[in-house]
Every structure is written in structure tokens, then in C-alpha cells.
């Protein structure tokens, strides 16, 4: 079974929200296409073809190769004026073995209160909008051949209720607004991954700053890196995206605030959608662009200033460290190479920006005891990782790099991933298990700052250096 998801076409509501494609419009803080990709995973479909048109680059940048969802995503392109169904006719033989097809901007509304289990797709399921097939799932080769050839035979087809979800159209700003509010009012819990909760009617992202004088009234959803100011009131029924700032004394209720929006001081946002400096009344679709940046404006950039500082300072420190380490590293490596006790282990790790990187690590066991102690004491074993910082694959300080294949599940779980040379685990002698890695990673995502990085670096370097004089831990001795 394969999936073909059409992401092209920009309905008016998505354009008003500033999106080139409906696929990236967020529902309760997550792009709409993500709900479909998760559904593909539940339907045991791994081979997904995203058919791009408007906003192609943004969709591709977001979905990448699909590894985040355990999918294998490939891409095709379609002219915006071309009929989406014609895409299937290009190579019909590819799809007759089983097809899950999405043609229009729909939301897969789950009908069960509990998150869905994995499903087995049998028979033919069909959803029509405006007299045409908008969503289809079938394993019937004869039906699929007829459908792809242009026929709209639906004899014996069932609707999607059988599978526990219902494709729901998003045709207007009002639909979009209501969908978001329905999610925040309780339906969010149907979409959470195992191990997570939406128990108190509140979902708050990573690195959200909430001062004690701010007042939160669930249900609400707040995205990552958002900052609330003192005396601000948020809720009930509020969805705030990533990177938003709510200034002092502002009140938000029954509204949707999209990513990167600044809400000025002492404002009252009710029954509205706000996108940057754009104010939208979803009841009639009125759009007002506010010129005053102290009322509403856009929060620029995807990186926080503190992250930029971390990256810049980290790179300079990594360069200094690499210069200091290069000579002792080569000398000790050469010494051990001569004695025949030197070896490097190659591993593949998840790197920054959805990339992967091969990294050579220097195992302690097997080294000369004195060399192992000096290697660890001077953090020379981290020299290859420090070089990765210089190439932009790693941060200097952050989370423990996750191994490809071994840690893929944890990688998918982490929304904020900062693989680094120096981590909380660096001073420890024993390797971290998955639980420790998860705890460290989540803690760092919440508390990362230049000060926290300094603390990690100082503790790692000083702790290891002190170990040089205390004697190597037993498990490191050869």
C-alpha cells in the first residue's frame, strides 16, 4: 500500500494566513500535513509520495525524508493549473497494489477519544467533497484501475468511520478557527503520542517562559520558545504557536495566534486569528493589517538570539579547543598506533538540521592505561566531535548525539535537538542509557542558555581534568 498526498493548491483561507500551501497551516500548533503523515504510519503505510505544487520548497524542507514519522517520503511535482488526479495517470501501475489518496485540504478527525492503534486497511473507503473524491483508501486493484482511469465508481465503498477517523474539510477561515478551538477544547488528546498526556487541558512546548505573574487558564496550547510577560492572561481556548511573545497585561481568550507573532502591551485578543501583524476575524473573514509594530508585529527569525549567541560563542570556543587539542591528540594517537593499541570506531549520528554525520570515536578500552587517562583527562576523545562543531554538524554544548538506528525513536520524540560535543553525560564515566539520554535531552531543551552551556563546558572539562590526578575509573582501565 502506498500513499499519495496532494499538497498543492492554496485555498483563500491559507493565503490569508500567509501560507503558500494548506499543508503547512498549523492545527493546534502542528502543520496539517503532519496529521496525515501520522495517519499513514497508523495505517501501516511507509511509502508516501508527496505531490508538491505551491509552496513546494517549504513542504520538502519540513517533511524531509520522512524519517521523523518512520516513513519513506518521496516527492513529485505538479503544475498548479493541472488537475491533481492526472498525477495518478502518469504511472497507474504504481498505485493499483493499494492506494491511500488525499486530494484536497482535509483534516483527519479521529473519532475515538483514545489515540488510535495501528490499523489494517481492507476494502475501499471513500470520502467525497463537492462531487469529487477527496480522500480514498483502497486495496482493490480493479477499483483503483477504474478510479485512476478517470472513473468515479464507488460501488461498495465505505466511508472512513470504519477506520476511526473522518476526513473533515477546511474550506474557510471559520472552519480553520473552529477546528483549532475544537482541538484545544479536548480533541488534542486523540492525537498525542504514547507516553504523553493532554490531561489538564494544557499543552506547553519547550523553552516557554511564563513569569509567576502571568495567568494561564486552560484549555490552551502554547508552542515552543514562546514568551509570556508579567500580568498577561492566556486562556481559555487559546492556541499560541512557536516563537510568539505576549507582552505585559495583554489578555488572550478564544483565539489562535500563529507562529512568530508579537502581541503588544495591554491588548485584548478575543475571537480572532493573529498572524504576525495581521488580525483576522474568522466569523466573516475580515483581514486587517496593523501598521503599528507596538500593537502587533512579526517576531523575526527562527533562531532565538540566545541560540545565535550560543552558536557563535560555541564555534569560537571549539576552534580554540581544536587548536589546543590537535598536537596532543596526534602525538598520543601516534604513540598508541605504534604500540598497536589504537583504534577508532565509526558511528553514524543524527546531526543538526535533520542531517546525519559519521563520527569517529576513540574507545577507552583497549588503550594504554596512561594514555586512556590522559585522553580522557584532556578530553582528547572528544576531538573528532569538536571538529564536527566547526563544520556546523554539532553544537559545542547541548544534548548527547543520538545514534542512527539505535536512538531513532528518541530522535523522533525530540522536537528540539541540539547534538553536541559536550553534554551532561561528558563528565560521567559510564555510557548513558536511553532513559538518561531522554531526561538529559528534555532538561537541556527547557533550560538551554549561554549560562547553561558554560556550566556544562566547565563541569565537563574540569571534572575530566580532575580525574587525571584521581586515577582513571575502573571501567576505563584496559
Amino acid at each position: 500500500m502506498k500513499a499519495v498526498l496532494q499538497t498543492g493548491g492554496t485555498p483563500a483561507w491559507a493565503r490569508d494566513l500567509g501560507f503558500e500551501t494548506w499543508a503547512l497551516a498549523p492545527i493546534a500548533g502542528r502543520p496539517l500535513i503532519e496529521y496525515w503523515l501520522e495517519l499513514c504510519d497508523l495505517l501501516r503505510i511507509t511509502d508516501v509520495r508527496l505531490v508538491l505544487s505551491d509552496g513546494a520548497q517549504a513542504v520538502e524542507t519540513y517533511a524531509q525524508d520522512g524519517a521523523r514519522w518512520g516513513l519513506k517520503i518521496s516527492y513529485s511535482f505538479l503544475d498548479p493549473d493541472e488537475d491533481p488526479d492526472l498525477f495518478l495517470q502518469r504511472s497507474p501501475e504504481l498505485w493499483t497494489g493499494g492506494l491511500f489518496y488525499l486530494r484536497a485540504p482535509l483534516f483527519p478527525r479521529r473519532l475515538n477519544e483514545q489515540p488510535l492503534e495501528k490499523l489494517n486497511l481492507v476494502g475501499t473507503h471513500l470520502h467525497r467533497e463537492g462531487g469529487r473524491t477527496a480522500c480514498l483508501a483502497s486495496s482493490d486493484a480493479a477499483f483503483l484501475s477504474s478510479f485512476i482511469a478517470g472513473g468515479e465508481l464507488a460501488l461498495g465503498a465505505q466511508d472512513f468511520n470504519e477506520l476511526g477517523f473522518l476526513p473533515e474539510p477546511v474550506n474557510s477561515l471559520h472552519d480553520y478557527f473552529e477546528l483549532n478551538l475544537r482541538m484545544v477544547r479536548g480533541e488534542c488528546s486523540r492525537y498525542v503520542s504514547p507516553g504523553y498526556f493532554f490531561k489538564d487541558g494544557a499543552s506547553i512546548g519547550f523553552n516557554v517562559v511564563i513569569p509567576p505573574a502571568a495567568r494561564l487558564q486552560p484549555p490552551l496550547v502554547i508552542g515552543n520558545n514562546t514568551r509570556l510577560s508579567a500580568l498577561s492572561q492566556v486562556g481559555p481556548d487559546v492556541v499560541i504557536g512557536d516563537r510568539c511573545i505576549v507582552d505585559q497585561q495583554s489578555e488572550l481568550a478564544n483565539c489562535v495566534i500563529l507562529d512568530g507573532t508579537y502581541i503588544g502591551r495591554n491588548l485584548e485578543i478575543r475571537d480572532k486569528i493573529v498572524v504576525g501583524r495581521r488580525l483576522i476575524d474568522p466569523t466573516d473573514g475580515t483581514v486587517a493589517d496593523i501598521e503599528d509594530p507596538w500593537l502587533l508585529s512579526t517576531v523575526p527569525g527562527t533562531m532565538r538570539p540566545a541560540d545565535i549567541i550560543r552558536a557563535a560563542v560555541g564555534w569560537v570556543l571549539a576552534l580554540l579547543l581544536a587548536i589546543l587539542q590537535v598536537v596532543p591528540f596526534l602525538l598520543l594517537a601516534a604513540l598508541q598506533k605504534i604500540t598497536g593499541r589504537w583504534r577508532l570506531v565509526r558511528g553514524e549520528f543524527h546531526a543538526t538540521r535533520q542531517r546525519k554525520t559519521a563520527l569517529l570515536t576513540c574507545p577507552q578500552k583497549g588503550q594504554l592505561p596512561l594514555c586512556a587517562r590522559v585522553f580522557r583527562g584532556l578530553s582528547l576523545d572528544l576531538f573528532p566531535a569538536v571538529l564536527r562543531v566547526l563544520t556546523g554538524r554539532f553544537w559545542l554544548c547541548g544534548q548527547e548525539p543520538l545514534r542512527v538506528d539505535f536512538d531513532d525513536a528518541l530522535r523522533r520524540e525530540l522536537k528540539e535537538y541540539f547534538p553536541a560535543a559536550f553534554t551532561y553525560a561528558t563528565p560521567r564515566a559510564e555510557a548513558s542509557d536511553t532513559l538518561i539520554k531522554r531526561v538529559d535531552a528534555l532538561y537541556y531543551a527547557h533550560h538551554r542558555s549561554p549560562a547553561e552551556d558554560t556550566r556544562i563546558l566547565v563541569r565537563a572539562l574540569s571534572g575530566r581534568f580532575a580525574g587525571l590526578f584521581r586515577g582513571a575509573p575502573e571501567d576505563l582501565a584496559s
Binding site: N266, E268, D284, W294
Partner: protein
Amino acid sequence: MATTYEIKDGTGLVTMNGPLTAGQVDAFRAEFNEWQKSSETVRNVVLDCHGIDFMDSSGLGALIALLKRITERGGDLKLARLPKKVRMVFEITRAYKIFQICDTVEEALQACK
């Protein structure tokens, strides 16, 4: 910005057209003060905002200053026929709590009696 001034049943009716932003507020304020001096018997004023196609915080500030000036003289200011976009600015800035806003000019004039 084009503004017309008239008196109906003892109430001043000011009809505004065009944007009310930082570039227009000084001229509007001076023009209104002139008119107010020449119409000393008028205490209550109705602003017909139907023609305002855009307003920023400077325009809003000018209206608040106008309200203060009129109430200090014992009168009242009412806004009529606010366009939707301007009404939305009033809603988010909570200005709707300060001003009495009427749907029609007649309703506003009636409220001033």
C-alpha cells in the same frame, strides 16, 4: 483626510473620510479645535467614521484626546458606523470600553439628546 462639520439638533456631526494615521492627526486636531471654538454652544459630538478606511494607534490617540477635550467641557462623544477593520482595532486595544459606539448616525444622535 476630508472632514465635514455640521450641527444637527444641537449636536455636532463630524463626518470623516480617508485614513486617520500619524500623518493626519495633527491637521485633524487643529481643524476640530477651530470648529469647536466657532461652535461654542455645541457640547455633544457624533463622529461618523464610515469613511475611515484605516486607523493606527496615533489616530486612536487623537480620538481619545478628542473625547477628553469634549468631556472636560461637559459634553459627550459618540462614534457611529465604525468600519469593520477599525472596529477590530478598537476591540484589540480595548478602546471600545472607552467610547460609546453606535451602529447608525441616527442612533448616536438620539443617544446624545
